[in-house]
Subunit: 209 residues, 2 copies
């Protein structure tokens, strides 16, 4: 592993990034319970000492992955325009559902969920993240409805369904039951939004077949 030209700070950053990549890979394949700190260090090409320089426990790197995931979903919601005056809900949901460049994440979500049932810290952070996204999505649905883009009975229910669709889509992709070629994130978003579009506004009707 050539390190010439990298100063100590850069080296440390790289080590940390490789450990995180290794954990992502092992948690998504062997699972969190099976993978050990030894496995993660070895997969990254480092000693256990390097691991413990950066993380204090195995939980610690799981929490870091959890932080990266919640940050990336939050960023995807914003990039999709979730906080726009009149949000394009297709773009918002497509952003939320997309893991195309990060093929290992859906399987890691299964680990977050399993651990959140039995690890209080993971559980707390996952619950906080979902509560935040649910609020943000409910507001986006509300604003889209106020702007006449969609019609709906309850923005809260629509937000809960969008989150359930996110989780369920990740499950189906992780277990290989639904390939992205069968239903892309964009198609899933469209299938959820199209029926909500008022005939007069969207140029599509709920009855279009």
């Amino acid at each position: 592993m050539p390190r010439s030209g990298l100063d100590r700070f850069e080296q440390r950053k790289q080590t940390r990034a490789r450990l995180i990549d290794a954990a992502l890979k092992l948690f998504s394949t062997s699972g969190y319970e099976h993978a050990t700190v030894d496995d993660i260090s070895q997969e990254a090409g480092y000693s256990k000492g390097a691991y413990y320089f950066h993380f204090s426990t195995k939980d610690d790197i799981l929490l870091e992955l959890l932080r990266m995931w919640t940050e990336s979903r939050g960023a995807a919601l914003l990039a999709g325009g979730a906080e726009d005056e009149a949000p394009d809900l297709r773009a918002v949901l497509e952003g939320l559902f997309s893991y195309e460049a990060d093929g290992q994440w859906p399987a890691v979500l299964l680990e977050f969920w399993s651990q959140s049932v039995r690890n209080a810290e993971v559980g707390k952070r996952v619950a906080q993240a979902y509560a935040g996204w649910r609020r943000q999505l409910a507001e986006a649905f509300s604003r889209a409805a106020a702007a006449g883009r969609i019609s709906l009975a309850s923005a809260e229910d629509a937000a809960a369904i969008a989150l359930a669709a996110h989780d369920g889509y990740a499950v189906q992709v992780a277990i290989g039951s639904l390939r992205a070629s069968e239903m892309s994130a964009a198609q899933l978003a469209d299938s959820l939004i199209a029926p909500l579009e008022a005939p007069a506004e969207g140029g599509r009707t709920a009855a279009a077949m």
Copy 2:
């Protein structure tokens, strides 16, 4: 544990049922990886010998739970009228989504999914179950559309969304992010179906607010 009055066959059935209940409880709390055959036997109040009389490995009882789950979902789809001439899709989906009497199941689904990523037999059976349900749901959506109950662009997409909603709802319930009091299985079913109902047919319009 009084066994008088039970013949050997009944005793064996009871032992098996208790071992299965114990596994369901431990897999949903400690998780599949953590729970041992010793733990399961002890939780059920039996020796390891009793376990191995009924099951050959720890996998074996996971596969039995998987069989029970796939059978119960299949039964719920049928009871909801999935194969009726003109299915009531609310009843079909409510049946599919409901785990109210079986509070431990959603957390066990997390274990099925995690294991299906790394255990070929679990993966195969889970994939088969989903493929069957997706076909069955697509046919139910098609027949409901043909009977004029709903309008939709693609029965296959609608079926995929219904399954994703099932999985995502189970995740949200398992991790405690969505309580059944906030959104019941019936409400989730209604929120998915209502937007598909053609104004002329259902007496509800997609624009009802």
